[in-house]
Amino acid sequence: GDGRTAVRSAGELIAYKSVNELPPPRDMMIQVDQKNEAILLPIYGSMVPFHVATVKTVSSQQDTNRNCYIRIIFNVPGTPFTPHGTNSLKNLGAIYLKEVSFRSKDPRHISEVVQLIKTLRRNVMARESERAERAT
């Protein structure tokens, strides 16, 4: 893995091909779309999709006012242990969304979302590394 192997990088995974494939907009809350391996984030009144393979870590935290926070960190080049390979060369010059943090009034929903993202991410990453191994 020095970047020259035929690794199918996270960059080739697409969440949706067209606007109409997105789930119908529901409440403005974080959603996980298992079928399309995507997370949808409410940003300025729109649900914005990200493929789960772009996610590096997800965590949640609760404060004393019963507010709950969720932090999602995305893969960016230049940090150790990110599965980028050739990807970062291909995207030379690009700007990356690195991190988002949301406040929620619903701790149960947040812990569910964190679990769903973690599981989905693990499954997708396992499948992709298996695929990469078979390819070599």
Binding site: A15, V19, M28, G45, P49, I95, V100, H109
Partner: protein, 186 residues
């Protein structure tokens, strides 16, 4: 053309989620009223500087840019509304709405475009999302390559949404040449 068009379930999108309401497009401009009263938006024809259409899931979104740099986003238009309104804006205001495309590929890398006080994140020239810099409480440079934007927090934040955006950060690699040597901008 005196009375114009009236649309009933049009929501105004923004920092705090979306608000349902009623939009009237008339010869004098654009007027939106929140359902049940409260917030209202009025844009005089002479203050209109740009209009955009974007296809969003199950609907169409109208972007309205005003002379003083404000940017309103109205969602809830059917496909047939888009064509009738486009004609109306063209003949009534002399503005041809620009077509924007929404990025749904789910990638987290692209370009940042600053226009007025709006920051748009574009993936392959399609728009993934837009945020208003007017809502940013503070920006922080983290390390050499990361820019963090923190949003204002108050009691009304998240009144219409369950999860509200508090912070967002962008990673600008050294290979990026767009914002080279300009420390005041992300």
């Amino acid at each position: 053309m005196a009375d114009g068009h009236l649309f009933n379930s049009i929501s105004l999108g923004g920092r705090g989620g979306t608000n349902p309401g009623q939009l009237r497009v008339h010869s004098g401009g654009i007027a939106w009223k929140k359902q049940g009263g409260g917030k209202a938006v009025e844009v005089d024809k002479s203050d209109l500087v740009g209009l955009t259409w974007m296809k969003v899931p199950r609907s169409n979104q109208l972007g309205v840019r005003t002379r003083d740099g404000l940017n309103y986003k109205f969602t809830g238009f059917r496909d047939q509304d888009v064509s009738s309104l486009t004609t109306f804006f063209q003949t009534g205001c002399g503005i041809l709405p620009e077509e924007k495309q929404l990025s749904v590929s789910g990638k987290n890398w692209g370009e940042v475009d600053l226009n007025g006080n709006m920051l748009a994140f574009l993936v392959g020239s399609k728009q993934a999302f837009e945020i208003s810099l007017a809502d940013v409480a503070q920006t922080q440079l983290q390390g050499k390559n990361d820019v963090m934007l923190e949003f204002h927090v108050d009691d009304t934040t998240g009144a219409n949404e369950k999860d509200s955006l508090m912070e967002i950060s962008f990673h600008v690699p050294n290979s990026n040449t767009q914002f080279l040597g300009d420390e005041n901008r992300p």
